[in-house]
Amino acid sequence: MSNIVWLIPLFPLLGTLLNALFGRWIDRKAHWVAVPALGCSFLLSCAVFLKVWQGETFTGDLFPWIQAGSFRTSVTALVDPLSAVMLLVVTGVGFLIHVYSVGYMHGDPGYARFFTYLNFFVFSMVMLVLAGNFLVLYVFWEAVGLCSYLLIGFWYTRRSAADAGKKAFIVNRVGDFGFGLGVMYLWVALGTLDYGEVFARIGALSPTTATVIALLLFMGACGKSAQLPLHTWLPDAMEGPTPVSALIHAATMVTAGVYMVARSHALFERSGVALDVVAWVGGITALFAATIALAQTDIKRVLAYSTISQLGYMFAGVGVGAYAAAIFHLVTHAFFKALLFLGAGSVIHAQAGEQDLRKMGGLAPRMMATTVTFLVGAAGLAGLPPFAGFFSKDEILASSYHRGPLALWALLLIGAFLTAVYVFRVVFLAFFGAPRMPKEVAQHVHESPLVMTVPLGVLALLTAVAGAVGIPSAHGMAFARFVSPVFPLPEGVDHGGLSAYALLVLSVVAATAGVLLAWLVYRGRPVRAEAIGRPRNRLHALVLNKYYVDELYDAVFVRPTLRAAGFCARTLDLGVVDGAVNGVGRLVVGWARSMRALQTGYVMNYAMATLAGAVAIVGFLLWR
């Protein structure tokens, strides 16, 4: 397996290099480089997956990387069921989104640049999930952040896009600061960063140390996976092209936090407290973001908050120890959320860039393929059986009921209800009812080209059938059994209370009720466009304004920082630092001029210098 594992990241890297170096000439044909590169990676990932299925695992060094005294680390890959699943998701969904982008980005002046970044992202993400130690994980953690930043600001001439990129970068920096500290502390505490060695020696850590390290690492996860309180960047990230939102800000990169916590579950379990923190942050975020999603008017922002909320579910799952369920939800979420984003992209594409739900409506007859696939995605997200989201979300709900506090379960259940409401609100507002867009736009509404609808179809199919591996059976669900080498199967702890079937029925009822409520509100009576997105009462205003978190951060962090920066720039920098730097600069240049004059060009002087040097050397040695 060793030979093919390294090929998986190699292909996207080659694609990146080709498009980066020769993008000017490849230009409109950039996808002929990028898409096959990813296709190859995907096929190889399938091969690796099959081998892992047969029970093989692989750990290997590509090359020793850094050696500085006792600190030695290699670029190591670890392929086990967990990373095999992640590989499949990253390259598979990535491949579909690459294909979709061919249609979506058609005619964009930065076509080759787009595919360069996208390929580089996939390369970094593959390396992130392949990483066999924390340092490599950290490096590619930063690399995917870089790609995210570049792609959010892809249309950098738009001020809002550039600002959103900056915001994503800065907010992530806050989280990564913690992550970096966590990695360093881990090394100080254990003297190794290799997964295997760290988890084998985890008992040597005191629970307090483990808590500190785990929480520092979780800080990074909060930033990357947009959990409270570092969630604010993700909605703004929707400024990027829609395929990017689907790939990076829904299906793959933002789930890196979940992956990291699941990967280091031994560390979090050693701490205990940290797991509770993870569970509660996840649960609260899940409900919090779901309420915001209810009121948003921008189709992509609804989906963005939905992503935050769903990531909350995954963290809640990890936090109660249901790792397999969380990763399973990660996979199904990748399918249906990518589907929803791509569907939204198709809608936006059809309406010449319009993202406002208030100006949509009645698209269904004109865009059947998009409508049907979007509906599948919505059903998946809402958790309606038999779609994939139902099985994975139910698994998390059931685990939280059995293993977590009741309040957490309640949060998640209400969240599930709200999820159904907001996603079907989007469905009804966008695809049904009377068209609310201007006439000239309405005339041009068209179904997207095949290159976009085929990926939609594939993702819809996956959303429809992927649940099958999560059907609980006598032996536990198939998915959990597959990843059981990484996450030991939970023992059948039963605290009594509601039975599994009652829980199942409850979650179905919650989802169905949500859909019905959305139907009543948005289909029961004609929708008035003006009424949407205008605050009706205090509570609505609060939700509409996203709980004023951005405003709070602005007042507490951003403006004071800017003021301090202004002070530093004017007084300290210009006066003191610049003065010193320029002074030193002038000094060195002056020094350079005078020393240069020693180089007279005359052989005599050079020989004299040689003799002087000889005398000095011999004199020094004799004096010693």
Binding site: F63, P64, R593, R596, V603, G613, V618
Partner: protein, 478 residues
């Protein structure tokens, strides 16, 4: 292969190729000499392969005057890479500037032979012979633009000062012979260890250091370097800057580490000062240069200072770092000279800073490649220059030379100024006047590709080569 000649097998290949070239030069075709370049290149590549085959062996020959060990083989690799890249760059450069002739390639090979012999030599007299073989060839090569005043001046300065320094060197050898009764490094070491070092030995060592200081162009013996680099053909300047320096360091390290261990505290203290002076003078004066070749010359002086930091640090880390850095430096410097050599403006070589204005727009790939080489010289990750400096300065810190490392890092910061200035010209200035053009040359591009590969490979995964370098110095430290 006969065991007696095995230690010199790579050298025999180079020497044989050189003699073959002398014959081929007399045969047709007479119009072009490019095929001789190809043969020379094949010879160097063959020597490189022989080196790889011999890897890991240890042997002695010619009454112990020549050794084969990991140390010599590592330098063989560095020197062969330098020579091969220079030959690739020369092939069309010489044709373009009307200096293509059989002698050119023969002399490149003979100087390469001298360099390799310096790495293999275990006797002061043999070091002297090798040094002279290398130098005499380079004196002639430096003056190949014989119809230009600068060409002659460059050769003359190099020759007079080089011969002057050789005079010191030979006298040093004589004094050491007087003190120890031998010129073989091992016997000198044994004799010097037997009794406290007398003045004869110490003065002899000082004079040897003058000779080596000239070859590696450390301050104050560096003054020839800028003038020679400027006046010599650019391809020759690249060879002088890389191969001859590597050879100088090879002999210097062998002599200091294996022979003069007794007086190690003395020469360490001395080289501490020389390192500081060398890097500071090199960097500061480089700031004031507007001719890119001269700038690179001063920069190469500064890099000698960095390498001396590793020599001072000593041990497997320091000496291994020196070997690693010399390899890195060879790739980077040949690459930087290579880009300059492929550019011309108004039928002249583009050597002035102004010629680089707006280059990123007209030749994005070449500009990017040059930028990468310059970043490597600056020491930015992920280029090899970073890894090299990291290990050198790290070794200094580890051996307790904190201040030396601090001064070296400050120097690197100063150096960034003039390296980045070229990048600023390429990317942020507009071009003025006649555009700077790039010469299409497959061989040149191949050389740049190899150099770039080296710079990135050693930057991203330095550890394997560093391990080889550290293993290579192990025999000297025993």
């Amino acid at each position: 292969m006969d065991a007696a000649v095995r230690p010199v097998a790579p050298l025999l290949v180079v020497a044989g190729t050189a003699f073959l070239l002398l014959v081929l030069d007399l045969l047709p075709p007479r119009g072009t000499k490019r095929h001789l370049g190809v043969v020379a290149l094949a010879g160097v590549v063959a020597a490189l392969l022989v080196t790889v085959v011999l890897w890991g062996r240890e042997a002695r020959a010619f009454s112990g005057m020549v050794v084969l060990d990991g140390f010599a083989l590592f330098f063989d690799v560095v020197i062969c890479y330098a020579a091969a890249l220079v030959l690739l760059l020369s092939m069309d450069y010489c044709g373009r500037h009307g200096i293509e002739s059989g002698e050119y390639y023969v002399l490149v090979l003979f100087s390469t032979l001298g360099m390799m012999l310096m790495a293999h030599a275990a006797d002061l007299i043999l070091i002297f012979l090798a040094l002279e073989l290398m130098s005499l060839s380079l004196y002639v090569l430096a003056g190949f633009f014989r119809w230009r005043l600068t060409g002659g001046e460059s050769a003359m300065k190099y020759f007079l000062l080089g011969a002057f320094a050789s005079g010191f060197f030979v006298y040093g050898v004589a004094l050491i012979y007087g003190a120890t009764g031998s010129t073989a490094l091992e016997r000198i070491a044994a004799a010097a260890g037997a009794r406290p070092p007398g003045p004869l030995l110490v003065v002899g060592l000082g004079l040897l250091l003058v000779g080596f200081g000239f070859k590696i162009s450390s301050v104050p013996f560096h003054m020839w370097a800028p003038d020679v680099y400027e006046g010599a053909p650019t391809s020759v300047a690249a060879l002088i800057a890389t191969g001859s320096k590597a050879a100088g360091f090879a002999a210097l390290l062998r002599v200091l580490l294996s022979t003069f261990k007794v007086v190690q505290p003395d020469w360490t203290a001395l080289l501490w000062g020389v390192a500081v002076l060398t890097m500071t003078v090199g960097n500061v004066v480089a700031i004031a240069q507007s001719n890119v070749k001269r700038m690179l010359a001063y920069s190469s002086v500064a890099h000698v200072g960095y390498v001396l930091v590793g020599v001072v640090a000593g041990g497997a880390l320091g000496a291994g770092g020196v070997l690693f850095y010399l390899l890195v430096y060879t790739f980077t410097t040949v690459g930087a000279f290579g880009v300059i050599l492929l550019l011309e403006r108004g039928r002249q070589e583009a050597v002035n800073l102004d010629d680089y204005g707006g280059l990123a727009e007209s030749h994005p790939v070449l500009a990017l490649v040059l930028a990468l080489f310059l970043l490597s010289l600056t020491g930015m990750p992920p280029t090899a220059g970073f890894a090299g400096k990291f290990y050198l300065f790290g070794a200094a810190v580890r051996s307790g030379y904190i201040w030396l490392a601090v001064i070296a890092v400050l120097n690197s910061a100063v150096a960034a100024y003039y390296y980045l200035r070229v990048i600023v010209y390429m990317y942020m200035r507009d071009r003025e006047g006649v555009p700077t053009g790039a010469v299409p040359s497959f061989a040149g591009r191949l050389a740049l590709g190899i150099a770039l590969w080296g710079v990135l490979q050693l930057g991203v995964m330095p550890a394997p080569v560093l391990n080889l370098a550290q293993a290579a110095v192990a025999p000297l430290l025993r």
